[in-house]
């Protein structure tokens, strides 16, 4: 991508000239997040459907609030910074060839994020739709307060280990952990389901959660198949294992008893 820079007094301004076409490669090196995001926006505006970002080095908020009218692929080589794909809406698929940091897919509404590495803390916080696939591990507080609405149902699949507080306050959607989970999974959950590939029920569950052995995996099968497709894993192998499913405990719901005063 061409960047034209010119001076106004002591300040240098950059204007990004995006070629109209179906694909665009750009180098993130040396750009701050504002510049990089403006470049990506400029490319989406002219209808580029395939955008590749090389040398990404911690730039935050990539594709924050993005939606595209036509399916758009955004491939990031390197390490995107916090809040990748926050408020992401339909039409965008983000692929990260590397690790992602905190707050990936925060309040995401639609679209897809595929991470060929690990994700940081607060993955998919409060997401309402779309899907996130993580090949490796995820940090603390993944899928907190995810919720579903009508045809929107958020899905997070994590291939490796997950930190504590997975699916806290879960109100809807599907969280799938293929590796071990930390403590306090699903505390305060009042909707949705958490599937965990494990032979032992997770420890430190709160009374608001009930864990049972999943009798069938039909619900998660399509997402496991997709996970396997993205990361070259064997879906049948994964689905052969035992899963526990966590649901809200209807007998002990998350609520306070109030008296009108």
């Amino acid at each position: 991508m061409k960047v034209k820079s010119y001076k106004w007094g002591r300040h240098t301004f950059k204007v990004h000239l995006c070629r109209k076409g179906t694909s665009e490669n750009m180098k993130a090196k040396g750009l701050d997040f504002k510049q990089l995001n403006e470049q990506i926006r400029a490319c989406v505006r002219v209808g580029n459907k395939n955008i590749k970002i090389d040398d990404c080095c911690g730039q935050r908020f990539i594709c924050s609030g993005f939606s595209a009218e036509t399916p758009t692929q955004i491939t990031i080589n390197g390490t995107p910074g916090n809040a990748l794909g926050a408020y992401l809406d339909g039409g965008c698929t983000i692929t990260v060839n590397g690790n992602a940091q905190d707050a990936v897919g925060d309040t995401m509404n639609d679209g897809k994020i595929i991470i060929h590495g690990n994700a940081g803390d607060a993955l998919g916080y409060s997401m309402r739709g779309g899907s996130i696939f993580v090949k490796g591990d995820a940090g603390y507080r993944a899928g907190v307060h995810a919720k579903e609405y009508k045809d929107k149902k958020p899905v997070i699949v994590i291939g490796g280990k997950v930190g504590s507080f997975l699916g806290e306050y879960l109100a809807g959607g599907l969280l799938i952990a293929l590796g071990s989970v930390g403590g306090f999974t699903g505390t305060g959950m009042h909707g949705g389901k958490i599937y965990i590939r494990t032979s032992e029920p997770p420890k430190n569950l709160s009374a608001q959660v009930i864990a049972t052995i999943a009798e069938n995996l039909d619900e998660i099968r399509p997402y496991i198949v997709e996970f396997a497709k993205h990361f070259g894993a064997n879906a049948q192998e994964i689905l052969k294992a035992q899963f526990y499913v966590l649901k809200p405990n209807a007998k002990n719901p998350y609520k306070q008893l109030y008296v009108m005063n």
């Binding site: 007094g9 997040f33 707050a103 916080y125 907190v144 806290e168 008296v259």
Partner: protein, 500 residues
Amino acid sequence: MINYIYPEYEIIRNPDKCISCGVCVRQCANEVHENINKTNKVICDDSKCVNCHRCAVLCPTRAIKIVKSGNTYRENANWNCKTIDEIYKQAQSGGVLLSGMGNPENYPVYFDKILLNASQVTNPSIDPLREPMETRVFLGKRPDDIMRESNGKLINNLPPQLPLSMPIMFSAMSYGSISYNAHESLARAAAQLGILYNTGEGGLHEDFSKYGKNTIVQVASGRFGVHVGYLNAGAAVEIKMGQGAKPGIGGHLPGTKIVGDISRTRMIPEGSDAISPAPHHDIYSIEDLRQLVFSLKEATQYKKPVIVKIAAVHNITAIASGIARSGADIIAIDGFRGGTGAAPTRIRDNVGIPIELALASVDKRLRDEGIRRNVSIVVGGSIRSSADIVKAVALGADCVYIGSSALMAMGCHLCRNCHAGRCNWGIATQVPELVKRLNPDIGSKRLVNLLTAWRHEIKEMMGLMGINSIETLKGNRLMLRGVGLNEKELQILGIKHAGE
């Protein structure tokens, strides 16, 4: 089980005036009044009365009055009726006490202990009916320096600003806590007055998107109804960290209230609970807050100012200093008297600090640190009159939020039972028959009346001080004097005592 509580209010019906028309029976959603056995005789159950005055006001012959019950416990200075009643309620139910509206307790109201100055002899006062007076304010970050092109032409580097015709906005009240008609009244009044109203956490109803440039959209910990279209629908985005009536706790709208439109605007299924976690679980520090601020700015392409709303608490100055450095454009501070649709009584009545002290200390701290221009300050938490606004501006506020006063303009009688959902005035309810009692034509008109009157009064007060622009009044503490305040209070408020 015997209810140990004697009714707080007594309904007195004058049989000579009562024409048995049945208005009171039909109007009371609490079912206080009742026709006995299809006769014309009306009886009433005082224990259900919340003293909202609906029946008393609508009675065509003024046959009804509601008085505080003369029957009383053997109370003393320590154990008053309220305290005793609360113990009975909890002993009977085992529940946490839940209340509506702001803190009613007898804490000092500092606005009432501050007096304004006036011009006499040495400087002329201004007659606002004759001279132009400026009440317009612009909320937002001010640029650090002036930038010019090489030919000397100014470069517009002004961050986004919110222009307001007067330093007043309607504070956040969600669709769900108040009715559709109440929201429409607020939106229409805001558009007519050139100010803003706030969606609260309940999302933005599609019908109100046309009031976008007079709307603040709120992002709270539950992120209900938040998507990129919503963020771009308003004039500004507010991150709600806290609320004066219930600092540090989350919210819980029970599934029974998530029906129809409420479910649609919050974007959660009908019948599911709407739980707002106590903290935003993606914000554990100022750095995290900065991240949310900038993710919102990126999502709105730097076109919308970002407001961070916090409750006034003990370390407010340090928190505000952090927020002023977080990239936020506006800090909204909600004092401990701020209203609410529902809050646990103990929290509402015991947590937080007065807005006057919070405002004065935050303004001073930001000025001392040289970062006051990074942010505008909006204060709320019981702004009751134009005088409170003038005093708040002189203490350093750019603007105020009004909630309870706006509700009262629409007909709220402060019965403080919003949490029951049976508001007889059609405000804090979703029952269609009750909602239609509030006509948005009248509601918006009354709001416009109130604020137009306040604006006139603000001009009068500015005029008598010899000030013709609200900007000149901002932080002008020489215009204030305290009465009956101790040295420490005066020091925090940054004002002198009357007579000094």
